[in-house]
Structures are given as C-alpha cells and as structure tokens.
Subunit: 131 residues, 6 copies
C-alpha cells in the first residue's frame, strides 16, 4: 500500500529481525508497527532510527509522556497522519488521559491559529527576544 | 516592518488599550509583545485572541509549561520564527531549564525526521491504531 | 543576501530586461520586485513565471482581488514571508481595505486552528463528502 | 478510525448535543460533520470552536464565499484533506461554480510554485514593502 | 472520491482527450493517472500543467532521475501522499534502485530533522552565506 | 539572536570543541557554521547530529551532490531559510553549477505547484500505485 511493501518477520533479513525482536522486548508487546516493517528494507537505517528514537524519547529532563505530546504536536503540524495515530497511542500507553488529550488538541489548534496570524501580519521578533 | 504597523499605546483605540493593560496585569510586566501591537488594528480580534490564548494555556490536565513546549513544537514545524522565539521565552519564564530545552529540540528533530521517513515510505496506519 | 544576487537592469540579459519592461508596463510602475531580479539569472524561467502568474491572476470567474487574498493565504500557510508581504501589497493595490485585511487574518487563523485540530483528532472525510 | 471515536447524538453529552442542534439549525441540515462529532468529547471546546468559526465566517467586509475560498487555500497548503473536502463543499453551498473552483485550484498551484521558488532563491523582502 | 470526479476518456472534452493522448505517447503507456483525470475539468489548465511538467522535468543540467528525486523530496515535506506515490513510481521508471530509494528516504529524514532543530534554535544565516 | 547564544570555541565544552575540530578537518575549512555553535550547548546532540549528517550525506548509491539537492528541496518546502542557504552553499561546493541551480529551483516550484493542485482536488492514489 505504501511506496515499499511491509516486511514480515519471515521476509526480513536477520539484522532487521534482530531489531524487530528488540522492539518487542523494549515495548513489551509482540506487535511491530508498520513503520518499522517498511523501514526494514534498509536494516542499518532501521537499527539507527529505532535506537535514536529510543534514546531521544527516554526519561531525562522531560518525562517520556511530555515527549510524546511534543511528538504528536510536530506530527500534526506536518500533517503526518500515521505519526499522529502512532504517537497518540504511545502517549496513551504512557498515561495520557482523555482530558490531557483534549487539552493537547486545543493547544495545537491555538498554536496553529496564532502561527498563521503572526505570519500573515508579518510580525518581527521583538528586540528583547533576540537575546 | 510587518504588513501592518505596530500600534503604540497612544495610537491604539481605548478597546485595544484595555487589552494591553490586561496583558500587563496578567503577565506581570510592562512590556506588550509585537504580536498584540500588530493585532490591535482589530480590537475585537485582539480581545478574542488574547482571551482564547489565556484560557487554553491556563493550568488544567496539562501544566502550563508542558503547553508551552507543545506550542514551541507546533510553531517550529510551521516555521514561525516569531512564535518560536516568543514561546521559548514563555517556556523559560514558566521553568524550562537549558536541559529541558535541549531535549525539546532533540524530540522536535526526531519527530520531523520520522515524519519525513513515514511520508516518503507511504506507511499506512496500522489496523490496530484505527480504533 | 539571497542564494543568488539580484540582477540590476544593467546586469540582466536582454531577454530578462524585456520581461522587466513588460512588468513595468503591465503593473504601471517603474519598480521591479526582488523576486523577478533574483529569477533573472534564468531568463526563460523568468518569462514563463511572469506570464503564468499574469494569466492565472487575470480577471475570470474570480476577481483579481479575491485571487490575491487566496495567494496571501497560501503564502502564509507555507511560511513565505516575502510572498506574504508582496501579495498583501498587491491585494491593497487592488482594493483590499484594512477591514478586509483584518478579516483575512482572522479567517487564516481559524483555518489553521481547525486544520490542526482535525489532523490531531485524525478525522476522516465524511462519506457524503467523498462524492 | 481517528484518534478518538465519533460521538453519535446518543453518546454525546447534553452540552455537546445542544451544539449539534445549533449546527443543524444554522446550517439548515440534519447532518452533523465528523469533525464536530470527534470534538464532542470536549463539549466546551466544541461550543467555543463552533461559535468562533460561525463568527469569523459570517458576512463582513469579505463575503462568506470568499472566506470559504481562503479556508480551502489554507487547508490545502497545510495538507488537511478533511478540511479541503469539507470547505470545498461549503464553498459550493455558498455559490462556488465549477469555473470558480478551477480558478481557485490554479491560483493555489501558482502561489505554491512561487512560494517554493522565492524560498529556494532566498529572496528578501523589498525595502519598500517593509512599511 | 476527491473534490471533483475523475473524467474518463469518454467524459473528457476533445481538448482534454488530446492531452490524455499526448500523455500516453510521451510516457509510452496506455494509463493516464488520476491527477490528469481530475484536472481535465479545466482543459486549458490540464494542457498547461502537463506541458510545464514535461518541460521542467526534461533532461538538462540535471538528469531526469535527479529531478524526480527532488520532486519526491518536496512532495514528502508537503505531505502530498499522492505525489509521493506517483513520483516514486516515476523515479523507479527512470532507474531508481532500492538502494537509491533507501538513501533518498534517509536524506529526507535527516533534512527534516535539522530543519526542525535549526528553526527551534532560531539559528540565523551566517554572514558569509548572505552573499 | 536565536533562542540560544552561539558558542565560540572558547565558550564551548571540550566535547563540543572536539566536534568543531572534526568539522574543520572533514570540511577542510576553519569556519564552523552557526548551527553547530547553537547546538554546542548539548555536546552529545552536537556529536550525534554531526556524525549522522556526515554518514547520511556520504557517497553511496546517490552522489553527495544529489543528496545536497534533495536537502535543499526539503528545506525549501519546510521554509527553513538557514538550511536553504547552508545547503545551497554545500551543493555549490560539491559542483552545482548555476544552470543546475536554476533547474533545481524550477523543479521545486513545479513540485510545489502540483502538490497544491493535487491536494486541492483531493486526488486519491491510483490503485496501480498502491503496490
């Protein structure tokens, strides 16, 4: 359905299959998302992307849930429907309640609104914000 | 510099001036950002936008700081430099540390990266994520 | 300042200069905008783009002013500051009043807002709208 | 199918149901679009969004049809397929003819084209357009 | 399914049908893509768009395959799924191997990533790059 | 000027300074671009980003110059002016002639144009392209 076929466990190379197994362990699920199966044609990219995502989304100065909310926000502004669905699910798995989701949608909408107004008005950055 | 001139307190209508004053009180500062001064040509829109932003960004199921991080994320994906600057400053005022900012930048970058990869691969939403 | 230098009348080729002259006549001004001067390194592209814009923006089923408002809207959503400035000026030259501009900004902001909300909610097109 | 289920009249809260009824009256139809049914999980946001859209899209210095054309343009540039479908339908309901639609598509395409060319060339805003 | 119906050969006007025939000859296939069938309601736009695309994508200083890769990249960043699919197919027809496709996806992802990081950091263009 | 100050060699940590030195060696220049100086507040992110970019942009199935053209295309569609400037310069350093640049700008413009038309028309992916 995409620009490349999704690879099943059987069709994937041993290197790709090893990443699938790592995804299963780290996410504590048997299910491997379509993105990883599409990316598996390039095992090195699959491994690098999975490890980079895992590292960036790990707990740090920001909680994993907050990071997922940011991920959903970026994905929405970029119009990536797949990403919105998968990271909304990830946010729920990390504790996002319906109330939090509703507020997230409102903040995204408000940011989009003022982004458009600011750009249409051609507002320049305040001197004091230029650092 | 923009597509409309910024209105000083003196040039603004009494209705717009009242919003400027409310901004000063709620934000506990004498400074009114360029966006509000550009929008002041339309006092009703100024009032509605300011009140909507204040309502949406207020504490709720999500903390105000988290909302600012989401706002920065959306503004970045939309390429609104003014919005990135003003909401990064707002996030700092609400407690964002340099470590949190650095992680925010990394999450935004990672989300942009996989947004592009997913779209280029044409990955379709997993059945189990379609609800 | 850009990725290519702007060409003065003297530096432009005769073919590019002929387009500059046509712009001056059609727009009834001596001023040639930076975009055309940047594009003049490729005289065939300059001629094709100028003629395409002139043809598409000419009066038809939609008035030229309405077309400029649409142009500003697209340019805003794409974050093209130059385009927002130049087409806002063009819209004013074709009769856009401050009241019309203020409403344009509000409509753009509202569209951006619901675009974001719709995408975050993953709303699918209604059966009855699928034609 | 989306990130939240669509709420039927029966599943919606009394507050959300009241907004559905208002949509039916104002739009003179029994049909309530998917967007409103997805948003109904947050009745306050539903009410605020519906009333804001109604107010911004009402006749003013710009005709309602022109506002719908602008809405379609923004939605297109943001890649919101749902929004393009629903506001193209709304524009038709307000009088957009096939000829007007065809011209709208051409203007959007031309704006996208020059947006890209301007950004690739890094063209800076003309001094005289900086106000 | 779209905002306009796709026109079959029988439903298309003689002018549109002539463009369909030209597409068949130039592309050496009997198949006419959905885009052209949707655009056929406006035969002049169909003809102009087809001829412009053919001219711009022809061999020149850049090879046709390189141009298709650039087309896929732009379409991905704009979130145009149709365009990603059709130009990925075109790139394959012009010689894109699976290895080239995998690298294209990686470069797009990396560009998206640093685009987001640069914008979030508000990095200004280096003096030496301002020309 | 950005949302974080640029770090000079003196202000950078030893880890960041080591990346600066690697950039100097690999690029055979003493100049370190603003992006790297802004990112240097997070030495681990600086190192990871620099190494990822270097790896992805290295010669492979696609030539480095082609990769730079793709990078410019993505950056343009995302409206990242900094990225357009820096990668246009990089493309020139790798052999992009003025003729190639002019064609790149035309292809980007044409892709943007049909992206907009396709989305406005709501064209669905052809069955035969769904794989």
């Amino acid at each position: 359905m995409g620009t490349v076929p999704l690879l099943s466990d059987e069709a994937a190379s041993p290197e790709a299959r090893a990443v699938f197994d790592d995804i299963r362990i780290k996410r504590n699920t048997d299910y491997v998302n379509n993105f990883w199966r599409a990316l598996a044609h390039d095992p090195a990219a699959l491994k690098d992307t999975w490890e980079s995502v895992a590292r960036v989304m790990a707990p740090g100065a920001l909680e994993p849930l907050v990071k997922e909310l940011v991920y959903v926000a970026v994905s929405t502004a970029n119009g990536c429907s797949y990403c919105v669905h998968s990271h909304t699910a990830a946010a729920r798995a990390k504790g996002m309640t319906p109330e939090m989701h509703a507020e997230l949608v409102q903040v995204i909408g408000m940011a989009m609104r003022t982004n458009g107004m600011v750009t249409a008005l051609g507002v320049e950055v305040d001197e004091r914000l230029r650092g």
